[in-house]
């Protein structure tokens, strides 16, 4: 459609001005009179029983206003979603290095540090569980909360397990000409938002209420956690989200602890309390992308037809569940990749260990399985002497196909188009020939070799059968005829505020500059569930469109009354309303008339995602209401002398539906690919006996501007009927296929299949790790700075 005024047109991000001027205030930028600073005492061991915590001496230190432990919270501050297994401060046991034990609020750094040192914690060390493969063996230490069973098995270490079932792969192997049987592993990944965790709690004068400013993912979850663990009424808690310096899924559970701790400290001390993490504290204590061990068996015919897929995955959730049950479910649903199979079985076990803890991270479980399955499918193409894009085109899901889950797909599916476009854009066919395939036996050390690789992705939209899925938006016309828009979904940098503003402006036919979108605030917005799983565009966008349509209907009524005509006779020209006879009426005039008619000029719109259903017992159903599809190609230059990999070109084509905010969607694509590039080549969170090996950006390396090539992005804008103006999500799927595309390109260049991430120098060079790296010193040093 070309008659749109704002959607798909170049626009500026609504909050860019404050950000370039340096006036946008993030949580740490608030300084209030009488404000205290606070910090947690954190566990320096991976697993121990807490015998006693004595804070009496710490409380006596001058300048110290409050010291809290789990006993200061209701039910010891027990919380968690979807599984309740965490505490606001450790109760009975510490389960990972960095687990918070006590929190202190003080006037200055000296008092704060003195108090943290003066807290006496008596711990009885417990054996740690560090190898997820051992989690269910009889002699494994018990990390989960359920006791051993009668035979002594630590089933409490099994957090949850999921399946997908489509016929029986074992009956199909004999029909296959090639059966690939391989194991792949991925590592934890750190979100590395440049803004560390921060919370500021301000007690209300003369009452028991508290307002918290915090950079969290979902202010409503934060509020509910305070209500339940601090014991306040709903009307006594307000959570406001200032600007957030990136989250990528990482500002949930750790932030809810921080928020509840500062709220409690503020209520006890009667003073504003701020807590800002150092980078070391952030890296040590916050949750990561989970690490996975994945076993694939995939069978194919000589002509490249994929026949059967069998998957077994172990997810290392670390010390707590956090959101990992949801991410692991998403891994399970996406494990077979976007292909048709005759038979498929998927089994995923999620286990507890003492390796930090894992939770949400952009890609949400799909990143791990996409890496492995796209490597496996690629290897099948090479073994069958087929072009990797041809093999994918032959098998990829198309409109009307039925997935391995038994879901019949709609006509929004456009993976084949994405693959064909990315093939053209990247000049794939020419380069495939030109960079002749690497053969490890014939490479001269030191030779520079080029390679090109592809990966495809499908990504279920929103929460799917993981949870209730609806969002709410509100609109109000203010006295000066500006509009205020709210959404319960947050914008931590992804641009959803701009997307919602454009949708409202387009629907109402008014200039976007009239609309002011409030930052999320539990007092003004309506709970819309967590801002995860790239829900914002589709869920929040639809809710915005619904509320805008309601307001539009009210204004059209007023215009019809003004013009003495029928609504159908009214036309719009820019902001003006045009009736059959009279002069056009301006937006302001119509609004004034609506006021005179006594109409209420505020609306609320809710959008419920279409029904999903999933049978956890049979492993079949309709897990998501729709999917995003995409394909990416990477070109690399490998130095076979050092193992250094340079990504020299990158192309991504995604089936996004209608593009609403062009600059924003490109930014999401570039940013996602860059995080995927880091995941592929350099980002490495090792745990050595529970101690994390990188605690700041000098050890945890993320891509700089020099590591990233110029990226070419394109979109297949096949409108999506359930999306606002036909739009789909993009934030997560942009990252997901990047690592396998790059690793497949390295194979093309060198003939070496790297099956474990990240592809660091020695893995590229010789295909394995030379030495066991690291010690726990780095982490211990980091802990001193915590």
């Amino acid at each position: 459609m070309t008659d749109r005024q704002f959607i798909g047109k170049p626009t500026n991000r609504v909050d860019a001005l404050e950000k370039v001027m340096g006036t946008a205030r993030y949580t740490a930028d608030y300084y209030l009179p009488g404000m205290l600073i606070s910090r947690c005492l954190r566990s320096k061991v991976p697993h121990a029983r807490i015998i006693s915590i004595d804070t009496s001496e710490a409380r006596q230190i001058p300048g110290v206003h409050a010291v809290i432990t789990c006993d200061d919270f209701i039910d010891h501050g027990r919380f968690g979603f979807p599984i309740v297994d965490m505490y606001m401060l450790a109760y009975q046991r510490v389960r990972y290095v960095g687990d918070p034990i006590a929190a202190v609020a003080a006037e200055n750094e000296e008092s704060l540090q003195a108090a943290l040192k003066a807290i006496k914690v008596e711990l009885e060390p417990l054996p740690g569980l560090f190898d997820p493969r051992q989690a269910l063996s009889p002699d494994a230490p018990l990390v989960g909360e359920k006791p051993r069973d009668a035979e002594g098995y630590p089933h409490g270490n099994l957090l949850i397990d999921y399946i997908v079932r489509q016929n029986d792969p074992d009956a199909v192997w004999k029909e296959c000409d090639l059966v690939l049987d391989k194991e792949y592993t991925t590592m934890h990944q750190e979100h590395a938002y440049i803004e560390t965790e921060a919370s500021l709690a301000v007690p209300w004068p003369k009452s028991s209420g508290v307002t918290v400013y915090a950079c969290c993912q979902s202010p409503f979850l934060a509020k509910n956690n305070i209500i339940q663990t601090v014991g306040l009424g709903s009307e006594d808690v307000r959570v406001i989200q200032p600007y957030v310096g990136g989250a990528f899924g990482g500002k949930d559970d750790t932030m809810y602890q921080t928020i509840a701790q500062t709220a409690k400290l503020a209520l006890i001390s009667g003073r504003p309390v701020k807590m800002v993490f150092s980078r070391e504290e952030s890296m040590i204590s916050s949750y990561k992308r989970d690490a996975m061990i994945m076993h694939y068996k995939i069978g194919a015919k000589k002509d490249g037809t994929l026949m059967a897929c069998q998957f077994h995955g172990i997810v290392d959730s670390g010390a707590y569940a956090a959101i990992t049950p949801f991410t692991a479910w998403r891994s399970t649903i996406h494990a077979m990749g976007p292909y048709r199979y005759q038979a498929c079985s998927v089994d995923t076990d999620v286990v507890y260990t003492n390796n930090g803890f894992a939770g949400a991270f952009r890609g949400f479980g799909n990143t791990e399985v996409c890496f492995a399955s796209e490597l496996a499918v690629d290897e099948i193409a090479y073994r069958l002497n087929m072009d990797p894009i041809d093999l994918r085109l032959k098998n990829c899901l198309r409109p009307g196909d039925t997935t391995s889950h038994g879901q019949k797909l709609g006509d929004d599916v456009a993976l084949a188009e994405c693959l064909q476009q990315v093939r053209k854009l990247s000049d794939w066919d020419r380069k495939r020939k030109e960079f002749e395939q690497g053969d490890p036996a014939r490479i001269h050390p030191g030779e520079l070799r080029k390679g090109i690789g592809v990966a495809a992705v499908f990504h279920g939209m929103s929460l799917g059968a993981e949870g209730k899925d609806s969002a709410v938006g509100t609109l109000r016309i203010n006295d000066d005829n500006t509009l205020t828009l709210t959404s319960g979904l947050t914008d931590y940098g992804s641009g959803s505020r701009t997307v919602f503003t454009l949708i409202a402006a387009e629907t109402l036919g008014i200039n976007p500059s009239r609309i002011h979108m409030l930052r999320p605030d539990t007092d003004t917005a309506i709970d819309s569930g967590p801002t995860v799983a790239s829900r914002a565009t589709v869920l929040g966008g639809n809710a915005t469109q619904v509320t805008a349509m309601r307001l539009d209907a009210i204004l059209l009524n007023a215009a019809a009354d003004l013009f003495h005509c029928q609504i159908v006779d009214i036309l719009r020209d820019g902001e003006n309303y045009i009736g059959p006879n009279e002069e056009p009426a301006s937006f302001d005039k119509v609004v004034d008339h609506a006021r005179q008619m006594g109409l209420t000029l505020s609306t609320e719109g809710r959008w419920n995602a279409p029904e999903n259903h999933w049978s956890f017992e049979s492993g079949t159903g309709k897990p998501y209401f729709a999917y995003h599809f995409g394909a990416q190609v990477a070109e690399v230059l490998v130095d076979t002398g050092t193992g250094k990999v340079e990504v020299t070109g990158y192309w991504g084509v995604h089936n996004t539906g209608t593009v609403i905010f062009p600059q924003g969607i490109l930014g999401q694509l570039y940013g996602g690919i860059t995080q995927g590039l880091g995941y592929a080549l350099m980002e490495r969170v090792d745990f050595d006996k529970g101690f994390i090996q990188a605690t700041n950006f000098d050890e945890y390396i993320i891509p700089t501007a020099m590591d990233v090539p110029e990226i070419v992005g394109a979109f297949v804008e096949k409108p999506f009927s359930d999306g606002p103006y036909g739009a789909k999500n993009i934030a997560e799927p942009s990252l997901v296929p990047a690592a396998p595309a790059i690793i497949n390109a390295i194979f093309h260049a060198t003939g070496r299949r790297i099956q474990n991430l990240p592809a660091n120098l020695e893995r590229v060079l010789i295909g394995k790790d030379l030495r066991k790296e690291g010690s726990n010193t780095a982490c211990k040093l980091g802990l001193h700075q915590v």
């Binding site: 991000r13 340096g22 590395a192 990136g246 931590y492 940098g493 490109l666 000098d698 993320i702 700089t704």
Partner: protein, 160 residues
């Protein structure tokens, strides 16, 4: 100790602990919170400021080292009317801003580059901002914005 320095063209005379970093001096004492802390070890560039026109990580410098010198923070970068200057405007127009946390440092890194090289290649721009980590944007639109500003400033230079 007493600090005497020029920050954003304004003389500052104030007392602060002798061992305070320039970053914490700017944030905690002058409340210039546009300068951000991302790592405190000189790796992320969120704390970038100009010290006598040179780009530095303010977390690695003692405020005492800036004594008697000129510091420019993001609050000191703007057009004459107080609005965005050409580089800041380009950041807005080219979609170079996402969460915004790295952006003050990026703008200063861009200014520092354009002060010394008015005609940078894209590779030179990438090198100039390689000390500034951005986790959101993938850098491409930031490079676009700096490049576009360089071209505009060259044109303006030719006209004047």
């Amino acid at each position: 100790m007493i600090f005497d320095l020029i920050v954003n063209e304004e003389p500052i005379h104030t007392e602060a602990p002798a061992d305070i970093s320039l970053l914490h001096f700017l944030r905690d004492h002058l409340k210039l919170t546009g300068t951000k802390e991302g790592c405190n070890v000189g790796e992320c560039g969120a704390c970038s400021v100009l010290l006598d026109g040179k780009l530095v990580n303010s977390c690695l410098i003692l405020a005492a080292q800036a004594n008697g010198r000129r510091v420019v923070t993001i609050e000191g970068i703007h057009a004459e009317d107080g609005g965005p200057n050409d580089l800041q405007q380009a950041f807005i127009e080219y979609g170079a801003v996402q969460c915004g946390f790295c952006i003050p440092g990026m703008v200063l890194a861009g200014e520092a580059l354009l002060n010394s090289n008015i005609n940078p290649t894209r590779a030179e721009i990438r090198e100039a901002i390689a000390g500034n980590l951005c986790r959101c944007t993938g850098y491409q639109q930031i490079v676009d914005a700096i490049q576009a500003t360089a071209l505009k400033r060259q044109e303006k230079g030719r006209r004047d």
